[in-house]
């Protein structure tokens, strides 16, 4: 493996997880504010995350298994924000219901 490619892989894996986090952050922020703009803005990071991910996948240093693992990560990072937001909403909704019930019981 050439020395340049080591450096590129390092940079790509840095940006891979960083942009995944930024995507999650802005997605949740946009959803919370009900702002389509911020949601759209978050997809910029999703795109960057996918680009970094696919750059890693294209590196010859990784054998098939690692490529599959990275592809799995890419898809996970893509759906985690949406899925997680749904889960968190659900939990808080349920909590709200229960609190409401407790109040009426009193």
């Amino acid at each position: 493996m050439s020395a340049d490619s080591v450096l590129k892989m390092l940079l790509a894996s840095l940006s891979f997880v960083l942009t995944a986090g930024l995507y999650a952050f802005f997605y949740a922020f946009g959803r919370l504010k009900g702002s389509f703009f911020w949601e759209l803005f978050s997809f910029v990071f999703a795109l960057m995350m996918m680009l970094s991910g696919f750059f890693l996948v294209s590196c010859p240093a990784f054998t098939l298994f690692w490529k599959l693992l990275l592809i799995f990560s890419i898809f996970s990072y893509l759906i985690i924000p949406k899925a997680m937001f749904w889960i968190v909403e659900k939990i808080h909704q349920k909590e709200g219901e229960e609190e409401g019930r407790l109040k009426t019981l009193k």
Binding site: M1, S2, A3, V6, L7, M9, L10, L11, S13, L14, F16, V17, L18, A20, G21, A24, F25, Y27, A28, F29, L32, K33, C59, A61, F62, F65, W66, L69, L70, S73, S76, Y77, I80, P81, M84, F85, V88, E89, I91, H92, E95, E98, E99
Partner: protein, 467 residues
């Protein structure tokens, strides 16, 4: 602290632990500044206080102050959870005094004796010479003894209160694991591969498994105290967190076994699980944003709340981003043992543990200094919060650049030899990074001083008109 008359005895003990913790935090920073200057000017204190000694004190005081902070957190919240005084509090106080005295002796020996002859006696009395757990063997045994007392305090209190469930159950198991894993580091082996194999059991399984879970417990308590989050949500999250941390973290230990002589299957196992480790951290971000947004930053304790939110992000950036960056074995072959590891360590410890400890202390301060229902806030803590976070980013960014330089020049091009090392260290990117790092280190220290000032004063004067 004159208002502390309605505190439990164990909460007073917690304050004692935190005072020592903050002092050790200061010591950590002083030694950190010395070694960062030694990177720029290697002759500084050469022969009197060599890099090795200061670095040893830098990392050991960090481990200790974080531990002191956690123990303080346990003693603070335990009586609130069990609704009774901690059982055997007298023993607990003795343990605190013994631990503090032992720490002082160990530090003095490190400073004054520094090194010993190459025989077992040195390992028992002066230093064990294994990174992070240099404390001599007698101190190791002492630490285990003290921890056993703390464990007894916790277990007996919970048992007597008949509350062995939920969060407290996790706490008990986790404390047992902390004691157990520490024992794994208490023997000598001439085989360095075996030595490092067990050494990582302590270092990794402490830092990346049991400490994370302990912090999960403490954060849960803080959330309940400052946000009024319901116990059910906290419990659900804690279990989920234990599931994810132990599920990926225990075998994630494999990422330390890549190059120590251990069999090849660790490359696969370690790489696989550590590639999964950032996934839950990304999920946590969504949750943190949601919580912060839903509560619209409304809380009775602004500083604690901000430090807890920072914890979620810090954990993601430090452990997730900087961890994943160099965790895959194909990359780690070149980046292992460079300044990238230092950058990752700084960010991860700060993000996950320092933030939690500060949140804990602020949570307690609100209870100590204010009447129920009034809000702990001020101006100084905001500057401290911004300053410490910025300074930490400022320390790690140059370290990352230096790490890239080292990975490229020393490892990938130079083949890791002595001369290749020197070439990397003399590279302008590396040298300038060290100066930037030192600058932000000073900024961090200044913010630390402000932090101490804030901890001493917050809530004392502003309490009335903040209501």
């Amino acid at each position: 602290m004159k208002e502390s008359k309605d505190l439990y005895e164990s909460q007073k003990l917690a304050i004692g632990y935190w005072i020592v913790a903050i002092c050790l935090f200061g010591a950590q920073l002083v030694f950190g500044l010395i070694i960062s200057y030694q990177y720029i000017q290697p002759e500084f204190l050469h022969k009197f206080l060599n890099f090795s000694i200061c670095r040893l004190l830098h990392i050991n005081s960090m481990i200790l102050w974080l531990l002191f902070g956690f123990i303080g957190g346990i003693y603070w919240f335990l009586p609130l959870e069990t609704e009774r005084e901690v059982v055997g509090i007298f023993l607990g106080k003795i343990a605190f005094i013994v631990l503090t005295a032992a720490v002082s002796i160990v530090v003095l020996v490190f400073l004054l004796v520094q090194i010993g002859k190459g025989e077992m006696l040195t390992l028992w009395l002066v230093t064990e010479g294994r990174e992070y757990i240099e404390a001599p063997r007698w101190a190791d045994i002492g630490i285990v003894a003290v921890f056993s007392i703390i464990f007894f305090n916790v277990f007996a209190s919970i048992w007597k209160a008949k509350k062995l469930k939920g969060i407290l159950w996790v706490l008990i198991v986790d404390l047992l694991a902390i004691i157990g894993f520490y024992i794994a580091g208490m023997f000598f082996s001439p085989n360095i591969s075996v030595d490092q194999f067990w050494w990582w059991w302590v270092v990794h399984l402490w830092v990346e498994a049991t400490w994370e879970v302990l912090v999960g417990v403490l954060v849960g308590w803080v959330l309940m105290a400052v946000l009024g989050t319901s116990r059910k949500i906290v419990e659900g999250w804690l279990y989920l967190e234990v599931f994810l941390i132990f599920g990926t973290g225990i075998l994630g230990l494999g990422h330390h076994y890549f190059w120590i002589g251990a069999p090849e299957y660790w490359l696969g196992i370690g790489g696989f699980f550590s590639a999964l480790e950032p996934l839950p951290l990304v999920a946590m971000i969504v949750h943190a944003v949601y919580d912060a947004g839903v509560h619209r930053l409304k809380t009775i304790n602004k500083p604690a709340f901000f430090w807890i939110v920072a914890q979620a992000f810090g954990n993601f950036i430090g452990a997730g981003v900087w961890g994943f960056m160099h965790t895959l074995p194909q990359i780690n072959l070149y980046s292992h043992g460079t300044q990238l590891t230092a950058a990752h360590g700084h960010l991860a410890f700060f993000g996950a543990y320092v933030n939690t400890n500060l949140a804990l202390i602020y949570t307690a301060l609100q209870r100590i200094r204010l009447h129920e229902g009034s809000i702990l806030d001020g101006t100084l803590w905001k500057w401290v919060f911004i300053g410490l976070n910025l300074a930490m980013l400022g320390i790690t960014a140059p370290l990352t650049v230096a790490g890239f330089t080292q990975t490229f020049v020393e490892r990938a091009v130079g083949g890791s030899t002595w001369q290749a090392y020197i070439d990397a260290q003399s590279h302008p990117w590396f040298k300038e990074s060290m100066i930037w790092r030192m600058g932000f280190g000073i900024m961090f220290f200044v913010c630390y001083v402000l932090l101490v000032a804030d901890l001493l004063t917050i809530g004392k004067t502003k309490a009335t008109h903040q209501q």
